[in-house]
Symmetry: C2
Subunit: 340 residues, 2 copies
Amino acid sequence: MDEKNLTIGDIARELGVSKTTVSRAISGKGRIGAETREKVLQYIEEHNYRPNVIAKGLAQSRTFNIGLVMPGDYNVVELPFFQNCMLGISKVASSMDYDVLISVVTAEDISQLQRAVINHKIDGVILTRTLVEDAPAKYLKEMQIPFVAIGSTEDRSIIQIDNDHRSACRELTEKLLTQGIRKIALIGGNQSYMVTKNRLGGFMEAYTRQGLELEKEHIYLDVEDGAMVKELVQRMIKEGIECIITMDDYLCSCVLNTLQQLQIHVPEQVKVASFYDSSFLENHVPSITSIQFDVEELGRMTCKTLLGMIEGEAVPEKSLLGYEISLRNSTEKTVLVQNR
Amino acid sequence: MDEKNLTIGDIARELGVSKTTVSRAISGKGRIGAETREKVLQYIEEHNYRPNVIAKGLAQSRTFNIGLVMPGDYNVVELPFFQNCMLGISKVASSMDYDVLISVVTAEDISQLQRAVINHKIDGVILTRTLVEDAPAKYLKEMQIPFVAIGSTEDRSIIQIDNDHRSACRELTEKLLTQGIRKIALIGGNQSYMVTKNRLGGFMEAYTRQGLELEKEHIYLDVEDGAMVKELVQRMIKEGIECIITMDDYLCSCVLNTLQQLQIHVPEQVKVASFYDSSFLENHVPSITSIQFDVEELGRMTCKTLLGMIEGEAVPEKSLLGYEISLRNSTEKTVLVQNR
DNA sequence: AATACATGAACAACCGATTGCGCAAAACGT
DNA sequence: ACGTTTTGCGCAATCGGTTGTTCATGTATT
């Protein structure tokens, strides 16, 4: 490899200038002559010098690290989401010469985050799966650390970025209603998550907008496991449900399994639509109508926003990102074939 | 909050000693009188002073960060594994006052890792899913950065920690053979991963040890998607396979789905066993015989090892961690009930 | 009692950058 | 041509710690 690690002092000595000059050439701040700057920059280029970020950080009391708060009590179905967020975040951070430091946090224990903050190891934080009145958000406010939340919270003082779950779910539902489907069931997870609330909101809005009556008994939230899904699906069938919308891949695959066991055909007898979180259902036959989000882009946007805040720019209080609805076979209009 | 951020200098002034003394009281290094140390430590305790890790790092040319290399081209079924590793790593790191910095890396692009290294942001690295002659490992060797690999590689010069996949798979197979089952199929993923090779090795070893002939045509590796599984399972059934071992949850659920479609009962007609990676199959009926690994512990061990290396301790070249085999209903001995 | 050794604490340099201030030379205005 | 402003650059302090060396004590050795 290259000999030693160059320092700003080495370059200064070599070029017969002062450390100040070298520093200014690099940062572009302060007064410096054009040709001197060129000379320094060229030297740097040739000897591919890299400034010591630690030293820079000490002088500027910054670290060029951002914290990424990940839940320690995650659910498997959330993983593809977190992973894709991370991907986007880490790409943007990297491109701006920042690094991502993870803090695993649970409802009871936010000590990893606190350590990172107290030790001055991070300049800002990205929160995933924020709940209202969440301990991390509270703590960060108190410590005056800039932070951005991925997902929605009711606390408007928190900068937040999310996909537009409400519109997405409304639009999907509208499309189904337009097809003449009326009895649509909605199956979702944790009701306290804003994402669940928003999707539910969109679902109901679709009915309202079309002036249709919504039967609330077909909304099932806080659905956790496959056994529960099985039970629900059986009940739905009896009640003559025409379509089932699930809020994640796992729920959807549970529904599909149950239907298969019951020998009920999709989409002939019941239609199915879902929110895709992963590629698990990508190759399913029949193909599943779904709402997809560009989660990596969500991560990128969030990171950009946070870095903007850190650098002192003004950032919007809330941003909503788009979605994509793919109508596929599982909600296809079908002519009922009798006695097959 | 507390007033300002205390520095070592503030404490020194306040206590009428030198910065050196304060520093020595904290670190325990160098000569210092017992009562002076007590005085300093007490003051620190009372004013809950936190040393600035950045400054400390600059002085010692360390960062108290470790890099965690995550693949950018992951497969969904691997996520629970990575997540659990991360959990374990981050717990240990945190407890030793280190932080975890992530670098997302693909086969073509290791620039994130390089940035972290060049910018002196990490003291060591943990590699996940290392392949032989992997670019990251090569790079880290070159740069003389201490690193540990999670999982096995053939390169014995790399410190590596893994679960004992070979023994695990051998033991499971032996148990099945002991039950009198002979025609066992093995379905696995990417053949170039050491984990696949090791499990296969264990599988074959079981036959050898029991002096039984192994029919190699029932070994299927590089199986990627559900469609492929479906085809394989159909073929197996025709060939009268008695048991199917899958190497991950996804493959297992594909197998189970196919069997259900074909109306083949588990365990009466075919037995099924798997490696659990997540909790996806936890509540399956029938319950699935499986090999489980404590992945979080794997993460913890790895992190301990790396931190040991960084602190200059001697560490073993290779460690193998245990596993747990749970024999459940899916491989139960059954009396064949006819004409049910 | 004289010499050797161990101990406790401070001085000051250092890690590798940034930055306010000062000074000389160059550019400007009239 | 002379005072004023601008420009280019270096000095030295600073960020918050660590550490080799020095030095004044206190204790042990014979």
